[in-house]
Symmetry: C2
Subunit: 337 residues, 2 copies
């Protein structure tokens, strides 16, 4: 069915080895033979069987990406940035979604290891580091993105989450807010880091943390607009009421804004709002949303480059951490000054 090296060799009366060498641009082939082979390859529309090649070389020229949710704009952008880098180098991209389920993630990781991907890029939903030990056993290099793990010396690419929290909170303070609440994220490095940055910024500006001003939505990323809405309703009942809110991510902030506006209050005059992630439609909302840009596509690109460098260097190198500086994007939702 599919054309094989053997077919071309037979047609031309040369050996399989010769054809294989032409395929890989070996120098020890006469120009004449090379031309004949290339011509025939083109005629027959030959495509090398990469599974066969992978089997003998031990390299699949593929990289696996596992994320909690493909539809989340952040991960979609990561995937895009990653695929761009891989394509340049002739690698393919295997993608799996864990749906925030650690068990499912484990299965997908196993599948990718069975496929002998050359490297893995993972935004993990795990609570333990066991999965990563298993990856390490296989000697498959991996790069964590977005979410870090305490006690795991692994390659990591992501935004500096403490800086995200500090940048957002400082911005609200500079806009004249003095009672700043935080709708926090889950118990992961992202949520914890942003919370810590929020606290640090308050302290730095001499603002005391107010009771009940940090609330958590009930749900994970894919439902965070609902949870942001609910969390904001709780914040609006407080006395005194917050005059600024830093939200863990943009969907949360969108839900929060909806709650504020529906309650007859104004954004940013009564309550200023800032999110994080800078999703690409943030500017088109009911009130354009200020946000902290976390350079999603750069994360994909950097993770890709790092992963490929690990593949190239045979020798085990010690894990590297790439921490990107977040950027402040001011839009109407926080512009009071």
């Amino acid at each position: 069915m599919a054309v094989r090296l053997k077919d071309i060799a037979r047609d031309l009366g040369v050996s399989v080895v010769t054809v294989s060498k032409v395929l890989r641009n070996h120098s020890d082939i006469s120009d004449e033979t090379r031309d004949r082979v290339l011509k025939r390859m083109k005629e027959l529309n030959y495509r090398p069987n990469l599974a066969a090649r992978a089997l003998v070389t031990g390299r699949s020229f593929s990289v696996g990406l596992v994320v909690p949710d493909l539809v989340h704009p952040f991960f979609a952008e990561v995937a895009k940035g990653l695929s761009k880098i891989l394509r340049k180098k002739g690698y393919s991209l295997l993608i799996a979604s864990s749906e925030e389920d650690p068990e499912l993630e484990q299965q997908e990781l196993d599948m990718m290891l069975a496929r002998r991907v050359d490297a893995l890029v993972v935004a993990s939903a795990q609570w333990t580091v066991e999965s990563f030990r298993r990856i390490e056993e296989q000697k498959t290099p991996y790069v964590l993105i977005d979410r870090q793990f305490a006690g795991l010396a692994a390659n990591f690419v992501g935004v500096d989450d403490e800086a995200v929290g500090a940048l957002a909170t400082s911005h609200l303070i500079e806009q004249g807010c003095s009672r700043i609440a935080h709708i926090r994220g889950p118990e992961l490095s992202t949520g914890l880091g942003r919370l810590e940055g929020y606290r640090r910024a308050l302290a730095k500006h001499g603002l005391a943390p107010l009771p009940g001003y940090v609330v958590m939505g009930r749900s994970v990323d894919n439902l965070s607009d609902t949870s942001g809405h609910e969390a904001m309703l709780r914040l609006l009942e407080l006395q005194p009421r917050p005059d600024g809110v830093f939200c863990y991510n943009d969907p949360t902030a969108m839900g929060a804004m909806k709650a504020i506006l529906d309650g007859g209050l104004r954004v940013p005059e009564d309550v200023a709002v800032i999110g994080a992630g800078n999703v690409n439609y943030a500017g088109l909302l009911r009130v354009p949303l200020s946000s902290i840009d976390q350079h999603s596509d750069s994360i994909g690109e950097r993770a890709g480059k790092l992963a490929l460098s690990l593949v190239e260097s045979k020798t085990a190198v010690r894990p590297r951490t790439v921490l990107l500086d977040p950027g402040l994007v001011v839009r109407a939702s926080s512009a009071r000054a």
Copy 2:
């Protein structure tokens, strides 16, 4: 490095064949042997080398997906739906983005064919059907999604684009609009179908097409909010001014709404707006956007099921077309009644 069948066989003093049979649940193995083998497999954390298996069986248990833009919510949702189906059946998903570039798409398709994917799912940016002929030569089953090609008898899963256009336009008419404009999409089946549905609905309700009322943005999907904005500005200069606009997709509609609101007009009182695609943040916009739902995730699922059924059935079946009925989602941007 990685554990092989051979290692397990040696450890247990049985043959490779026996171990292989246990791996695949063959019945002709004694319970005792089976247990010993399974035990050892677990101990060593054995994972079959799928590249090797693919080579001998001719089946890779992988499916390739090629889309124009991973970040576009429609394609992200398609990918999610597809991956869900594939995971259930033990298949992996290879994803590539063509960035709307036919040449790049061709390269990615070639790469996937070289990897011997069992089937392909493609939202194509091609202008010609040549690529598909090449896929057919390899006997790799493929399913087109979203965009159809005239003169190509291929499997297709997508929304009924004429119905999309007709549904949106009829809705605006029912809301009392009588001068309905259309910001149309590109010269692809999606854009053309929606335009045709728009015309049909106008005719059906006895409304004459007005000169200049159909305009085209200059750009493709990923920039369509800008192009929607620009196109709307042109529409607003017309005399008489439109009182309703059906936009090719939601980003276009978001750009159009911005132009209307920035011009001091009201949505929907002065101009009603409806988009298509029903992106998941449509409800959170400055004015919540009415839209036509095209069941993005169903498209992924249906395409996946169709692709797998093609893989299973050895015999060539004649191409099937799955046309999904669009759904109307009314929000504030078109609610005048």
